[in-house]
Amino acid sequence: MSVNEVQQNKEVEQNWEPKILVFACTWCTYAGADLTGLSRLQYPPNIRILKVPCSGRVNPQFVIKAFQKGVDGVLVAGCHPGDCHYTSGNYFTRRRFLLMRRLMEYIGMEPQRFQNRWISAAEAPKFQQVITEMTEEIRTLGPNRKLRDDQW
């Protein structure tokens, strides 16, 4: 298997649209996303929300697996510390992803591609703002080649 082409081709393919996976905890961020819908706050259609019971359920290995499968950005979002429905789930999320973010940046993944935010069930405008900003940041970065498993 020759060294696959890692140099990013900066010119963006014409019809490329960033594809962003969002892990959202049911009690806060998923509910926040629902409220964003309820309030008809528009945001770019590039995200796909994957529901998990708690942000503490998100295994860092899912994030690597998502990049392997060619996702351009991953957002792990959950309740603000203290608000967790299971009292301490997001404290573990915070520890794990404080480390994981630095490790991913350390091996060369642009920090904007993998973000973590606390978004509560009442913060619809924040959900809209975070998603819009992240989509624009990733659009400027262009498609993600790193960690991509080009077998398929």
């Binding site: 298997m1 060294v3 696959n4 890692v6 140099q7 990013q8 860092p60 290995q61 690597i64 697996k65 392997q68 603000h80 510390p81 301490s88 404290y91 573990f92 915070r94 520890r95 794990r96 992803f97 404080l98 480390l99 994981m100 973010r101 630095r102 490790l103 991913m104 940046e105 350390y106 091996i107 060369g108 993944m109 642009e110 973590n116 935010r117 606390w118 790193k146 960690l147 991509r148 498993d149 080009d150 077998q151």
Partner: protein, 295 residues
């Protein structure tokens, strides 16, 4: 280097003869002057094979996993890093402290066997990098102690200069560095098999049905393996550097492990793995005052 070989053999012989230990674990000379291999002695007369020289670099802790269900005690010689490995196994409930007799040896720092292979026998062989940076030459836990403790002046904090140097690079440079290295990885899993922190009964990389790690030996899956193992040993790595030493394609694995150690110290307060067996692991708990970066 104080020659403790005779003392080692005597101690091992006594243990076996008195039946205190069913088997004693130490080092014996390998085929080349720079190589030693772990050896399991269960007969008193075989203790002659035990040696103690500048190449006893192998970390013997992980072999204890094979003796988990031995009905009898095991004697094992432990340097500083080995003793931390033993503590790790006890902390992970993989080793019953009473079933092992630890014979402590103060470690002067072992030679770099790869350099020895390159430079030939009579050249001046430098000490292995990990031993130069070593902060625990004297064993942190032992039952018997041979020789004296060095109480050497050791650096207060782990040396992460190489990690900091890597951090200054641009994303593409860093990515190219790690992928060119991990492109060579054969996935022989030697690094996992020698690591005292990797003591699972069935490693997820062996459970191919789960869909975590595909069998394909390409950069993407190798990176998945590297990053996942780095996260798994996060907060457990005792910086013994064995993974790097045994890697057949010389991948600088410790660069990843030291990065996580540096971040754990920075984020959650200094923590050295394997110094005791009761405290909660850094990733096994949390603190209300952890740094907040996700607001």
């Amino acid at each position: 280097m104080v020659d403790l070989t005779l003392e080692i053999r005597k101690t091992a012989k006594e243990l076996l003869e008195k039946g205190e230990a069913k088997v004693v674990l130490g080092w014996e000379k390998g085929n080349f002057p720079y190589s030693t291999t772990p050896v399991f002695i269960d007969k008193p007369e075989d203790t002659e094979r035990l040696i103690w020289d500048e190449y006893c670099i192998n970390n013997l802790a992980l072999y204890m996993l094979d003796y988990k269900h031995l009905d009898g005690k095991v004697g094992i010689f432990v340097k500083g890093c080995d003793s931390r490995g033993i503590n790790r196994l006890v902390q992970d409930k993989q080793l019953d402290r009473e079933k092992v007799i630890l014979i402590g040896l103060s470690c002067p720092g072992m030679k770099d066997e790869k350099k020895a292979k390159e430079l030939g026998p009579n050249a001046d062989i430098p000490m292995a990098q990990k031993c130069q940076d070593c902060r625990y030459p004297d064993p942190v836990v032992y039952d018997v102690f041979l020789g004296e403790k060095q109480n050497k002046k050791v650096p207060e904090k782990i040396d992460t200069s190489d990690v900091e140097e890597m951090e200054t690079k641009s994303p593409d440079e860093k990515y190219r560095f790690f992928t060119t290295n991990y492109e060579k990885c054969l996935r022989c899993y030697a690094c996992r098999n020698v690591c005292p922190a990797c003591n699972c009964k069935e490693c997820i990389f062996d459970q191919t049905a789960t869909g975590w790690l595909a069998k394909a030996n390409n950069v993407s899956n190798n990176m998945f393996f590297a990053l996942t193992r780095a996260m798994h040993v996060g907060g457990r790595c005792i910086e013994c550097g064995e993974c790097e030493r045994v890697c057949s394609v010389n991948i600088p694995i410790m660069l990843l492990n030291k990065k996580i150690i540096k971040d754990i110290n920075f984020l959650f307060g200094d923590y050295d793995a394997g110094l005791e067996t009761e405290e909660r692991l850094p990733l096994g708990g949390y603190d209300y005052t952890d740094p907040e970066e996700f607001m």
